[in-house]
Symmetry: C3
Subunit: 189 residues, 3 copies
């Protein structure tokens, strides 16, 4: 059941289903009780929590946005599973956070990844998506805001126990020759 | 029926409607089966697909985000209908993609339009909206990320066969004197 | 009732409730008729309307995004209630809009705040959230687009008469030493 455009059908059916069951309260997040808007809302929240965790080096939260066997693919390498993803992020912190390099200036600099232009296609408990990311920071003596890199994501997501998680995230970066997008309109599906 | 704040009413009524029909499976995307969240989710996806298509010069996809008689208004000119919109975009590629000009540096530069601050108001099968856009790129010898322009959109959208499309998009740009916003809080409705 | 992941349960129950009431049309935005997606969609729209109002100095609209006794906390000061919030914004316009300072160049410059990475958690008629903001403008002789500041929001929201409003917004800014985030992954709840 594709839910990009006619997602409400499933929602209405879910309501029917619950009614058949005498309107019994169901607090278990049944699979049927969904819609494109619900799935997209939860995935957008996942996308945002992922970036807050990354930028604040909250690696427990960061790896928890992936499935147990999730894949992080940043072209230069692929990491599979939460333990390996955590290890790679720790090793390559400066890839994700340029401000992790030498600190200049009076107070601690920060760096922030942002996501925009989120495209999501849902098919039952699976979803695919693409989006833009860009990064700015202030690791300079004046703490001046500066955009420094950008690229895009190609994502695969799975709903596990009612919660959307990344099963695969591929990251492209237009600031590094070996890491740029192959070009064309990305389509991970 | 306005659906900005009390959109759920329509949703619940839709469920009722389906129940009156004995809960018959309805896979046809009935108009009633909607809500503000569903409409907004689909429109946000449209907005994102529009920009991926524009930045990758995927003009087939780009023009398909407009209705057959849709209008693209970038103040300097207005184009009506998919064929004319395509022609104008082809002619003025560098207006939308500054990196289409002379290429410097070692590998192909890219440029990316981003959308933020999306306001959407839905009234049945019609919607109006406004949002910010900004563009960054790396068309310089160092492939350094640089923001280079920004403005805002004023949009009109229509739901055609269950799919939201742009019936009119007006684009303002704060980097060109003749193209700037008239000022004030934009209200396309 | 938390609605981050299993929001549909409430929605289905709401449908049941309406059915118990003989499917009587209810156009009053009953509290029960909601879901995570509906709440999030309305809050995202609120977030966007807040920024359009701020950047266009539409202070009537700006203060109307807060509850009557809402709090705006920008660390340097806290304002409580719409009248006080309006007064503070008027006094400190250049804090929110750097372009309100000396104007250079041929036509009026503009400045724009953008929101990204929106995390929202809903519990009935109350919600908490966090998000990134960044600002760019063109207050320079060439009207060149330049990012100049960024930070994050920590928000508390309340649904009043079916409409989500800010009951508290805390703003951090990474460009001013006394105004920066305390660090770590922000959690306003």
């Amino acid at each position: 059941m594709k839910r990009t455009l006619n997602g409400w059908t499933g929602a209405a059916l879910a309501a029917c289903l619950l009614l058949t069951l005498s309107c019994a309260p169901a607090d278990t997040g049944t699979k049927a009780a969904s819609s494109y808007a619900e799935d997209r809302a939860q995935i957008e929240d996942l996308q945002a929590r992922y970036l807050f965790a990354l930028d604040s080096s909250d690696l427990d939260t960061y790896v928890s946005t992936f499935t147990e066997d999730g894949v992080l693919d940043i072209i230069a390498y692929q990491a599979k599973g939460r333990a390996e993803i955590r290890k790679k992020i720790e090793e390559a912190q400066n890839v994700f956070d340029p401000t992790a390099e030498a600190v200049q200036g009076s107070y601690a600099p920060t760096g922030r990844h942002n996501i925009t232009n989120i495209v999501i296609q849902v098919d039952g408990d699976r979803a695919v998506g693409k989006a833009y990311w860009f990064h700015y920071g202030n690791n300079n003596p004046e703490r001046k805001a500066q955009i420094d890199s950008y690229g895009h994501y190609e994502d695969e997501m799975v709903k596990v126990d009612g919660q959307w998680l990344f099963s695969k995230r591929v990251i492209y970066n237009e600031q590094v020759a070996d890491w740029i997008s192959p070009g064309g309109n990305p389509k991970a599906w």
